[in-house]
């Protein structure tokens, strides 16, 4: 079963995204910030990470930099989601997709499939 991890501090949105991905056959784990995401991923890297940009404790940007510095996590594909536009300084190789909120279910699933096919 494909495993997805969602890092998002807005609980209702986290729950909605979880429902969408579970409906697509993913086994989904969820967390509220980048620090938790690192802890959850290090033993068992997911097939895909969906992360918010602005989160407490460790932001999405910090999370991605941390992941790319770790051998076991640097290949995990990332879809970044954010209320703001793509931040300056984000390199193309850092994330595989960026979705500005609000995005539709169709758009999310299209990006999930594209990112996973591109692996």
């Amino acid at each position: 079963m494909k495993k997805a991890l969602i890092a998002e501090d807005e609980i209702d949105l986290l729950q909605a995204l979880k429902t969408v991905l579970e409906g697509e056959g993913f086994s989904v784990t969820a967390c509220k910030d980048g620090r938790e995401a690192i802890n959850m991923m290090q033993d068992s890297p997911p097939s895909l990470l969906i992360t918010d940009l602005m989160m407490p404790r460790m932001s999405g940007l910090e999370l991605i930099h941390e992941m790319r510095s770790r051998n076991e996590l640097k290949e995990v594909p990332v879809i970044m989601i954010s209320c703001a536009d793509l931040p300056d300084g984000m390199r193309d190789e850092d994330i595989q997709s960026f979705l500005r909120k609000p995005f539709s279910v169709r758009k999310l699933l299209r990006e999930v499939n594209r990112v996973l096919e591109g692996r």
Binding site: E10, D12, L13, A16, L17, T19, V20, G23, C83, A84, D85, R100, K101, P102, F103, S104, V105, R106
Partner: protein, 388 residues
């Protein structure tokens, strides 16, 4: 006021300066009691926070009083007051971050300080006309610096607050739209209702994006434009689609036979054209068609949107592209006018492409907004910010 003393004017000014230097703490204490009594916002502030940057004000005043030339001592534009200026500017800026302060209260604090200083000097019988003039000149300049900074800082804080709030709204908005899609997928009977929810969520998102753009434009930050080589036929088709569906038969589009390619930000231009069409429908004659036209020349493309109906007053044509500007007619009917952001956005997008936007409006010819954009085919237009 001291007229009968035997000191020279310069002596008096020096002695007044001594009086200030020797009474810094009593002056500030008297001022503190007075503002705590009379200015509600000052009542519960900490002593340090309340007095910040007023000591440099007093020091600066005493230096001015000692100035050899009466003219430069009185001069409100003297160049030697940089420290005074920056201290007062910081004071104004910090007041903007304290709860409850209005611009009147910031000014009131300085006027109170002037009165207290004047009282101290008068009690020593040192208040000549010249001394009073210097006190007033320094006070007026301080007020000007502090009030200007207070006002611009408040504006920046408000813009930041609006910007943060608008960004944050996108989270619950996304919950609404995803949940509506999930319900729609599960329940056929609710599909129509959920489409209404989704359409309105999209409307809110559009308003949020427009407001965020307006805040950016007002702050002078310009728009982020991403340039690609593309043909505007497709961009115009996309931009007119929504309005053609909502107002069947009302939108007419004229395309040229040749390609209209160049270096453009298609999403910015599509939104600009949507704004122009939306205005043409809103303010134009509802019985007449709105004409969207794309024209090409070797170096430029022109996108124009024309409507018939009541023309835009000549005096309004000059200000119509300013953020939040509304014409006098529009002011009469708030509900019809929208945000007043659309045209400012159109102008920013046109200028971000190195082009311009023009309006031509009269009873005889109707109203035409034209965006004239360089195609940038031979130059290297790449990703950048608009210069607005």
């Amino acid at each position: 006021m001291s007229e009968s003393n035997t000191f020279s004017d310069l002596d008096l000014r020096h002695k007044a300066a001594d009086c200030i230097d020797n009474n810094l703490e009593p002056i500030l204490s008297a001022w503190e009691s007075e503002v705590r009594r009379n200015i509600p916002a000052a009542r519960y502030q900490e002593k340090i926070l309340l007095r910040n940057h007023l000591l440099p004000y007093l020091t600066s005043l005493s230096e001015r009083l000692r100035s050899a030339s009466v003219k430069s001592a009185r001069d409100r534009n003297a160049q030697d007051q940089d420290f005074d200026a920056s201290a007062n500017e910081i004071h104004g800026r910090l007041r903007a971050t304290l709860p409850g302060y209005s611009i009147e209260e910031v000014i009131d604090e300085y006027i109170t300080l002037r009165q207290i200083v004047t009282d101290f000097i008068e009690k020593q019988n040192l208040l000549s006309q010249q001394v009073l003039e210097v006190i007033c000149a320094v006070n007026e300049k301080a007020i000007m610096h502090a009030a200007t900074q207070f006002s611009s800082s408040l504006q920046v804080l408000r813009q930041r607050a609006v910007s943060m709030l608008m960004h944050d709204i996108r989270n619950p908005l996304n919950v609404v739209s995803i949940t509506a899609e999930l319900v729609k997928a599960k329940s056929e009977s609710q599909a129509k209702n959920m489409d209404t929810v989704l359409a309105n969520a999209a409307k809110i998102d559009k308003m949020v994006t427009e407001l965020l753009d307006a805040v950016k434009l007002q702050a002078g930050e310009g728009l982020e434009l991403r340039f690609d080589h593309c043909d505007l036929h497709q961009t115009i088709k996309v931009a007119t689609e929504g309005a053609s569906l909502a107002y069947p038969g009302r939108i007419e589009v004229h395309f040229p036979d040749e390609p209209a390619d160049g270096q453009f930000d298609t999403s910015g231009l599509a939104r600009a054209v949507e704004n122009l069409i939306s205005n043409a429908i809103k303010y134009g004659d509802s019985e007449e068609k709105v004409l969207v036209e794309l024209k090409v020349s070797p170096d430029f493309v022109t996108i124009s949107v024309h409507n018939w109906g009541h023309p835009i007053d000549e005096k309004d044509q000059a200000t119509i592209f300013v953020t939040f500007a509304r014409s006098q007619d529009q002011e009469k009917n708030f509900r019809e006018q929208g945000w007043g952001l659309g045209l400012a956005y159109v102008k920013a997008v046109a200028e971000g492409h190195g082009g311009e936007v023009k309006v031509d409006s009269s009873e005889k010819k109707g109203t035409t907004f034209s965006m004239i954009l360089p195609r940038g085919l031979d130059s290297s237009a790449d990703e950048g910010k608009s210069g607005s």
